[in-house]
């Protein structure tokens, strides 16, 4: 089962690379998404999944991340054929193959219980997404791809050094050398603390670069600004969640080594710092796609902050990964539609999206309200849970700072979003041929309904899985 989960997308990627017709190839992407979603459903519902002598394991934490990433990819994949049909001039061979390869590699990251294998898979997601960023073949997308590739690879190289440090912390104490997660969690109390500390810092910097935590976030505005909306959504929802999972794995080891206080302090600091950086740059942001990138930096900060606080906030952070990802789906895809309709992503040119795009425009506005934590959206519930956790932990100052930063981001993003959606569309905008069409708005509507539904009612199975994941993270095995 574990093999199927990541080999099926990779196989389809191979098929996509081999198929000669540009017209039918994009349909492989939703096919792959659907197949992966079905397999994920079977894996979650069925017997425990393990393979390769414990190298691949579906634990309670990976169940949550896998279910989320699979859903995210499926909804995004529905958008792909119609999007690529708008670009008949360009071969989509590399694009489709890389999308499917990215899904396969993300699955491998989620399943991997061997830290070396996980590293290889995360680096592979970087490499698979680089051609996706370059799809538009402009000088700006070239610049964004170069920065993404170089900063990402350097970050990941530091993570490899951190992984080696971690392995050495066991050798140093005369233990059997290992990089298997379960062994390391088990051996954690005996690991050499100085090496463990150095390892955690390097790993947080390394995988934090991939996740886009400040101050390692500099690739993010460029990459999200230039990437097609579809790719932006997958990066903001999928790849960053995988990097988050990687950080959680190392947090687990630190926690078991009685070093939780050390790890938590760093996580809280870097979380708040990311939120603060996002708040500074989101104000007066005239490029609405770059604005989304800073929003992503902010929410990655919220995720690690939640883990740093612990307790109820851990549950909140895991829920927030899902609600934020779904809302980002709404925002990136509708922003892509607006960008196409106006042939610009600058608020100097883009006004009146509510009139110009009667479905994408309102969805963009609604997505903004949800992502900034307005009730009854999903992110409201998850952010509120993190807030409650912070107050329960007696960290009133952090709670106050958290609320202040959320408010600043709300105002900053609001100014940009309102300029986009209100007013009268310019003549140039009305002249572009693009109109809202069902294939390009139905996936956004599905994202919207899911994100809204999670704010109103969280289904019991999801609560159970989230609880199990939080318990697994906080206390070894539930």
């Amino acid at each position: 089962m574990a093999w199927f989960l990541f080999l099926v997308p990779l196989l389809l990627a191979g098929v996509a690379a081999a198929i000669p017709t540009n017209r039918w190839r994009p349909w492989l992407v939703p096919m792959g998404g659907l197949a992966h979603l079905c397999l994920t459903g079977l894996a979650v519902a069925g017997t425990p999944v393990t393979a390769l002598k414990g190298w691949l394991v579906l634990d309670p934490l990976s169940v949550v991340v896998l279910g989320f990433v699979s859903t995210m990819f499926f909804l995004c994949s529905l958008y792909a054929p119609a999007y690529l049909a708008l670009r008949p001039d360009r071969s989509n061979r590399v694009f489709c193959a890389c999308l499917l390869a990215m899904l396969g590699m993300m699955t491998l990251v989620i399943l991997a219980h061997h830290l070396g294998l996980m590293w290889v898979a995360i680096e592979a997601t970087t490499l698979a997404t680089a051609p996706l960023l370059f799809f538009n073949h402009t000088s700006r997308s070239l610049e964004a791809t170069w920065k993404y590739l170089l900063i990402g690879s350097v970050g990941i190289a530091l993570a490899l050094l951190g992984t080696f440090f971690l392995a050495y912390s066991s050798i140093h104490e005369g233990l059997e050398p290992t990089l298997l997660l379960d062994d390391l969690v088990h051996l954690a109390p005996k690991l050499s603390p100085p090496w463990l500390h150095a390892a955690f810092v390097l790993l947080l910097v390394g995988y934090g670069t991939k996740m886009g935590l400040a101050p390692m976030h500099t690739w993010k505005p460029d990459a999200y600004g230039e990437a097609p909306g579809l790719v932006g959504a997958l990066l903001a929802g999928g790849v960053t969640s995988c990097a988050f999972l990687a950080i959680l794995r190392f947090y687990q080891i630190c926690r078991n080594a009685q070093e939780a206080a050390f790890a938590r302090e760093i996580l809280i600091f870097i979380g708040l710092f990311s939120m603060a950086v996002a708040a500074v740059f989101v104000i007066r942001q005239r490029d609405f796609k770059r604005m989304l990138a800073y929003s992503s930096v902010e929410h990655m900060g919220i995720l690690v902050l939640g883990i740093g606080i612990g307790g109820v906030a851990t549950f909140g952070a895991l829920l927030h990964m899902i609600t934020n990802g779904l809302t980002k789906g709404v925002m990136f895809l509708s922003a892509g539609n607006i960008h196409r309709a106006y042939d610009s992503k600058n608020t100097d040119d883009v006004h009146g999206a509510l009139h110009r795009l009667p479905i994408s425009g309102p969805l963009f506005l609604a997505g903004f309200l949800m992502v900034t934590g307005s009730p009854p959206g999903g992110p409201f519930i998850s952010e509120f849970t993190i807030l409650i956790g912070t107050i329960h932990a007696g960290k009133y100052f952090i709670a106050g700072l958290f609320l202040t930063l959320l408010a600043i981001v709300f105002i900053g993003m609001g100014a940009t979003v309102l300029r986009v959606v209100q007013g009268v569309p310019s003549d140039k905008a009305v002249a572009t041929p693009y109109r809202d069409r069902p294939q390009l708005v139905i996936p956004i509507l599905m994202f919207f309904v899911l994100a809204l539904a999670l704010g109103v009612w969280i289904p019991n199975p999801l609560v159970t899985h989230l609880r199990q994941a939080a318990a697994y993270l906080e206390g070894g095995h539930p």
């Binding site: 061997h114 070396g116 294998l117 590293w119 290889v120 680096e123 592979a124 970087t126 490499l127 680089a130 051609p131 370059f134 000088s139 700006r140 070239l142 610049e143 964004a144 791809t145 170069w146 920065k147 590739l149 170089l150 690879s153 350097v154 190289a157 490899l160 050094l161 080696f164 440090f165 392995a167 050495y168 066991s170 050798i171 140093h172 050398p177 290992t178 990089l179 050499s192 100085p194 090496w195 150095a198 505005p221 460029d222 600004g225 230039e226 740059f281």
Partner: protein
């Protein structure tokens, strides 16, 4: 066998300085190629007895880091019509000085970490850290895209040296995966360098400054 490890690490460190001080791009790439080959030899030495997998791994490292990747970089500077000088932001003397300071700091930092000098040379951790720092220095102070890639390679080499301490912990499947990832990364970077040179008629990353706040 072990008595060769430390001298090789000293050579690796010297090559860092060659890469930092050289003004011609060819010399920089050659230095990294030799460094890559030395790493392959180190793998063979670190294990003592040569079993099949170790030999495979050593050969793969020598072949990829010493031959294939340098060839790709040489092809890149040949295809792209550019001036063959390095053009640093920080001068060569200053780079060398910073490199020396970095090496000193690496030695000091590795003293603070508990290391047992068992069968391995005592230089492994300082050599690894100072090579990582050299890579960083190249990445940040050189403007050409190709020299940045070389910086990334040196950084990876540093991580690789540290990996010598963990030969038993890291299975060959993973090591091969790491090498493969490195190869593909350089390959993709090579393609992008090519596109950059066509788009901007230059491979200086100072041209890449359109995206900013």
């Amino acid at each position: 066998m072990n008595k060769f490890i430390d001298p090789i690490l000293v050579l690796v460190l010297l090559l860092n300085f060659v890469a930092l001080g050289a003004s011609r791009m060819r010399t920089v790439i050659q230095a990294v190629a030799v460094q890559g080959m030395l790493l392959g030899i180190l793998i063979a030495l670190a294990h003592g007895h040569l079993i099949f997998w170790v030999a495979m791994m050593a050969l793969a490292t020598i072949f990829l880091k010493g031959v294939v990747i340098p060839r790709m970089l040489f092809d890149a500077i040949r295809d792209v019509v550019i001036r063959r000088e390095v053009e640093p932001i920080v001068g060569f003397i200053a780079s060398l000085f910073l490199g020396a300071v970095g090496t000193g700091l690496a030695v000091l930092f590795s003293r603070t970490l508990p290391i047992d000098h068992g069968e391995m040379g005592s230089l492994i951790v300082p050599a690894a850290l100072s090579t990582v720092l050299t890579g960083f220095l190249m990445l940040t102070t050189r403007t050409k895209a190709i020299t940045q890639v070389v910086g990334y390679l040196i950084l990876e080499n540093g991580v690789f040296i540290f990996g010598m301490l963990l030969m038993e912990a890291v299975p060959f499947l993973v090591e091969l995966g790491v090498l493969l990832d490195l190869f593909v990364a350089i390959f993709v970077m090579g393609i992008i360098i090519h596109k950059i040179s066509r788009e901007f008629s230059s491979v200086s990353t100072q041209m890449l400054s359109e995206l900013k706040e």
